[in-house]
C-alpha cells in the first residue's frame, strides 16, 4: 500500500511563485571565489595547491581525505591567493582555497576524458562520481558516491529521486526538472545500472505540474521510471517521508533507507551525476534560487561554487529596504547568514531573503498544551513533552521519548502558537547528549 503523502506535517505558505517560472540564468564570474575545504558531510578535503599557483576552471585544488570525503575543484580560472580562513555558511570559520579569478579568461576547462559509463561497473561509477566531487545538492551535502555503493548484503529494489522540494521559496530542483528532464533520466539510468535496480520513482509535489509533465514526456522507452505526483505538505521531501509516500514502508527508527530496499537521491544531484558522464567536468557550479521579498530581483541562477553571498545579492539587484534575514536553504531548515562574505557552497540550494513582516519575532509564552505540535510532527513525537524536558535539562529522559528520531524539520516550532523554539531546543539537546556520551562510555 502506498499513498501520495504522509500523516501530520504542516502547510507553510509556499511563496514559490517568485521564481517558479523564471528560467535558469548563468551568473557572471565574480572577482574571487572562495572554496571551503569542508563543503560536504564527512572529512574535509586536503588542499593540493599553494599560493601563487595558476589553476584552470575544473582543476582539482583539494583531494578527498578517505572514503567519506570528496575532492574540491576550482570553479573559475585564476591564481590561488592563499589557503585562508573564511566564514562558513554554518556560522563557523573554515579553511578555504582563495582564487583570484582571471578577468579576461574564457573560463574554458582543460580538455578531459569523459568517463564511458556503460563499460563501468558499480564501484567504478562510484569512484568517478567521488573524483568529480559530487555531493547531495538537496542541502545535506552527503557525498553522492556513498549512495552508489551500498553495503553488499543489502538488496536495493527502488531508486527514489527526490523532486519534492517541499521547502517554501526554493525552486532550483523545480527548474532542473523543467529545463533538464533528459539529464535527470540519464542520471537515473546511470544510477540504476550501478545499483542494479530495475525500477525508479521520481517523487514531485503536485504544486509543480509542469515538472511532472516535462519528466513524464521524456521518460526513455527502455527505462522503468514512474513519476509520482505527491501531496503538497512539508516535509514531504524528508527522506523517510518520501520513502513512505512512494513505497508505503517506514524506515525503522535508527536505520538507513537501504533497510527497506530504497535509495533516495535528489534530482539536482542526479543531474550533476549525469553531467559528470556527459562532459567529464566535476561539480564546480550549481543552480541556486535567490529569492524572497527582501531581494530586488529574485532569480534562478547557475552560480560558481565559492561565489560570495555579496556578489550573488549584488547581481540580483541588492536588498530591499525591508530585508531582515538572509537564509541559505529554505526558511524551514535553512541556516541564517551573518556575513555577506560567506561563500555559497555545493550544498546551498537557495538564498532566501526574508522581510521583517515574515520574521517578526514574537515573545515566547508558556506552553498551553494545545497539541498542535503533536499533530504536526511527521515522525509522531510529542514535542510539547520533549520541550518541557529540554527546559529542565533532562536530556537522558528525552532519549526515552525518541529524541533521536527527531529530524529537526521545524514543523513543531512553525505551528507553536506560543512561539516556543522547540526544534532549536531539540538541536541543542542532541548536541548536549553528544557531549555527554564520551563520559558515559
Amino acid at each position: 500500500m502506498s499513498s501520495n503523502g504522509f500523516r501530520h506535517g504542516v502547510h507553510p505558505p509556499e511563496r514559490k511563485e517568485l521564481t517558479a517560472s523564471l528560467p535558469v540564468r548563468r551568473m557572471p564570474f565574480p572577482k574571487e571565489v572562495v572554496l571551503p575545504l569542508r563543503q560536504h558531510a564527512g572529512k574535509p578535503a586536503v588542499p593540493i595547491v599553494a599560493r601563487g599557483d595558476r589553476v584552470e576552471r575544473g582543476d582539482k585544488v583539494a583531494a578527498s581525505d578517505g572514503y567519506m570525503s570528496v575532492p574540491m575543484h576550482a570553479s573559475a580560472a585564476g591564481i590561488v591567493t592563499g589557503i585562508d580562513w573564511c566564514p562558513h555558511p554554518d556560522g563557523s570559520m573554515v579553511e578555504a582555497v582563495h582564487i583570484a579569478v582571471e578577468r579576461h579568461s574564457a573560463q574554458l576547462p582543460r580538455p578531459r576524458m569523459v568517463p564511458e559509463w556503460e563499460s563501468l561497473v558499480g564501484e567504478e561509477v562510484a569512484r568517478a562520481v567521488q573524483e568529480a566531487g559530487v555531493v547531495g545538492l538537496g542541502g545535506a551535502a552527503f557525498p553522492a558516491h556513498v549512495k552508489l555503493a551500498p553495503p553488499k548484503d543489502t538488496k536495493i529494489e527502488t531508486l527514489i529521486l527526490n523532486g519534492a522540494e517541499c521547502e517554501p521559496y526554493l525552486t532550483s530542483d523545480h527548474r532542473v526538472m523543467v529545463e533538464y528532464p533528459e539529464r535527470v533520466h540519464f542520471g537515473a539510468r546511470i544510477m540504476m545500472k550501478a545499483l542494479g535496480v530495475e525500477h525508479a520513482v521520481i517523487g514531485v509535489e503536485s504544486n509543480k505540474p509542469d515538472a511532472v509533465e516535462a519528466l513524464r514526456a521524456t521518460i526513455p522507452a527502455d527505462l522503468d521510471i514512474t513519476v509520482r505526483s505527491l501531496t503538497v505538505k512539508y516535509p514531504q521531501g524528508a527522506e523517510k517521508m518520501l520513502i513512505h509516500a512512494v513505497t508505503g514502508r517506514e524506515v525503522p527508527s535508527g536505520k538507513l533507507p537501504v533497510h527497506v530496499g530504497a535509495i533516495v537521491q535528489n534530482v539536482g544531484t542526479i543531474a550533476a551525476i549525469a553531467e559528470v558522464f556527459e562532459t567529464g567536468l566535476p561539480l564546480i557550479e550549481r543552480i541556486v534560487t535567490v529569492t524572497g521579498r527582501g531581494v530586488v530581483r529574485p532569480s534562478n541562477l547557475i552560480v560558481p561554487v565559492g561565489t560570495r553571498l555579496r556578489d550573488v545579492l549584488d547581481f540580483c539587484g541588492g536588498l530591499n529596504a525591508d530585508a531582515a534575514e538572509i537564509v541559505f536553504g529554505g526558511p524551514m531548515m535553512g541556516a541564517v547568514q551573518a556575513d555577506l562574505d560567506t561563500p555559497l557552497t555545493k550544498g546551498t540550494t537557495g538564498v532566501v531573503v526574508l522581510t521583517h513582516e515574515e520574521t517578526a519575532s514574537r515573545e515566547t509564552l508558556p506552553c498551553i498544551k494545545c497539541g498542535r505540535c503533536v499533530e504536526s510532527c511527521p515522525v509522531f513525537l510529542m514535542p510539547q513533552h520533549l520541550g518541557a524536558l529540554a527546559q529542565l535539562g533532562r536530556y537522558e529522559e528525552m532519549q526515552q521519548w525518541n529524541l533521536a528520531d527527531c529530524m529537526l524539520c521545524g514543523s513543531c516550532s512553525y505551528v507553536c502558537p506560543s512561539g516556543i523554539p522547540l526544534s532549536q531546543m531539540f538541536a541543542l539537546s542532541k548536541a548536549a547528549l553528544r557531549r555527554q556520551k564520551p563520559k558515559v562510555a
Binding site: 541564517v336 509522531f380 512553525y414
Partner: protein, 354 residues
C-alpha cells in the same frame, strides 16, 4: 559543458537599484525562520470574543444582574492575575476567559462579592499556585465554582427566573460581604434538572434550546453555545472531538438508561440540552491547558466526562454533575496523554517499547 554552459549570461539591467555596500542590519534567528500566523494571544482573544454573544444572551434572559455577576467574577480574576502573576500576563487574555466562564456558571442573584471571591480563588488557587498559564491541572473557572459551591451552597443554587425586565435586579446583588443577604425579593425557580431530580417534573425541549429556563447565566441557551463553539472549532481554536465525544457518550448512555426505564430516567435530548452540559462540553472541557494533547486522548477524555455526567445525574446526590465530571477528568489528563502517546515513525507498537 553542454547544456548548462549554453545558458546565456544574464546581465544586470542598468536601471537596477545600487547595492548598498555597508552591511544592512540583519536578524539572526534559529530555523525555522517563518512561523504560522496563529498565536496564543490570538487564540485567547478569539475565545473571549466568541463568548460575547453568550454574555449578551445572559443579559437578555436575566437582566442587568447577569452583567453585574459576570463583571464581578472577571474583576476578581483580573485583579488576582495582576497582583500575583508576572507583569503583563493580563495581555494574554487567559485570565479574562477564566473570569467570563466563571461568571457564566453562576446564578444572577448572587451577592456580587461572592463571584468576585470566586474569581480570586479561580486564578489564585486554580492557576497561579500551579505556576501560571499552561501549568494548571484543573480548569480554573471550575475550581472557582467548586469553591463557591462549597462555601455558599444556598446562594449558588438560588436560581432566579429568566425574563422580567432588563434593569430589575434578580436578587440582593449588593449585599455586603459576610452579611446574610436580605430575603430575595424576586421569583426564583428550580433548574430543569433540579425539577427533575427533586420534583420529578420534566421540561420541554424548546425552552432548553432557546434558553429561557432557570439556571446559571450561560448554561441556558444550548443553541447559542453550539453556534459560538462551532465558530471556534471552525477556526481550529477548539478541538471539536472533545464536545462531540462528551455529547455522544452522554446521549448514548442516557438513551440506554431511558430505554431500560423511561419513567425513571429522562430522555437523552433532555439530558443533552439541560444544565451546564453544553457550556461545559464546548467551553470548559476544551480548555487546551487542561485537556489531552493527542487526538485519541481527546476522544477518551470526552467519553470519560460524558459517562461521569450521566453517572452523577442519574445516581448522584446532586442534580448536576458537569463540573465534577470535568474536574475529575482534568486530573486524568496526564495519564491519558501518556496512554495515547503516538507510535513513533519507524518503531513497533507501543506495547513492545515499554
Amino acid at each position: 559543458m553542454s547544456t548548462l554552459s549554453n545558458v546565456p549570461i544574464g546581465a544586470a539591467p542598468a536601471h537596477s537599484a545600487p547595492f548598498h555596500p555597508e552591511t544592512p542590519r540583519l536578524e539572526l534567528t534559529a530555523s525555522p525562520h517563518v512561523h504560522s500566523a496563529d498565536s496564543t494571544m490570538r487564540i485567547m482573544w478569539t475565545v473571549v470574543i466568541s463568548l460575547m454573544p453568550i454574555v449578551a444572551a445572559s443579559v437578555v434572559f436575566f437582566g442587568i444582574s447577569a452583567l453585574l455577576v459576570i463583571a464581578a467574577a472577571v474583576a476578581g480574576a483580573l485583579v488576582t492575575e495582576r497582583v500575583t502573576g508576572p507583569r503583563n500576563t493580563l495581555r494574554d487574555g487567559s485570565a479574562l476567559i477564566t473570569g467570563l466562564l466563571l461568571g457564566l456558571v453562576l446564578p444572577a442573584g448572587m451577592p456580587l462579592w461572592m463571584p468576585f471571591l470566586g474569581g480570586v480563588v479561580a486564578i489564585g488557587f486554580g492557576k497561579v499556585i500551579f505556576g501560571g498559564l499552561g501549568q494548571n491541572v484543573f480548569n480554573p473557572a471550575l475550581v472557582g465554582r467548586a469553591f463557591l459551591q462549597a462555601a455558599f451552597p444556598i446562594a449558588i443554587t438560588t436560581w432566579p427566573t429568566s425574563g422580567s425586565g432588563l434593569f430589575a435586579l434578580r436578587g440582593d446583588n449588593f449585599a455586603l460581604p459576610l452579611m446574610s443577604a436580605s430575603a430575595p425579593d424576586v421569583v426564583t425557580a428550580a433548574t430543569p434538572l433540579g425539577l427533575l431530580k427533586f420534583e420529578q417534573t420534566g421540561t420541554d425541549l424548546w425552552p432548553l434550546l432557546i434558553g429561557n429556563t432557570g439556571g446559571s447565566l450561560g448554561e441556558t441557551s444550548a443553541l447559542l453555545i453550539l453556534l459560538c463553539g462551532g465558530y471556534l472549532a471552525w477556526k481550529r481554536y477548539l478541538d471539536w472531538r472533545i464536545p462531540v465525544s462528551i455529547l455522544a457518550t452522554t446521549g448514548v448512555l442516557s438513551g440506554t438508561l431511558w430505554m431500560i426505564d423511561g419513567a425513571r430516567y429522562p430522555d437523552p435530548l433532555f439530558m443533552l440540552f439541560s444544565g451546564g452540559l453544553m457550556l461545559g462540553a464546548v467551553y470548559m472541557a476544551t480548555d487546551m491547558v487542561t485537556s489531552p494533547v493527542t487526538r485519541a486522548g481527546a476522544w477518551i477524555f470526552g467519553a470519560g466526562i460524558g459517562a461521569l455526567v450521566v453517572l452523577i445525574r442519574a445516581w448522584g446526590g446532586l442534580p448536576e454533575g458537569v463540573m465534577y465530571a470535568i474536574l475529575l477528568m482534568n486530573a486524568m489528563v496526564p495519564f491519558i496523554n501518556r496512554w495515547t502517546r503516538p507510535r513513533v515513525f519507524g518503531t513497533p507498537g507501543r506495547r513492545s517499547r515499554a
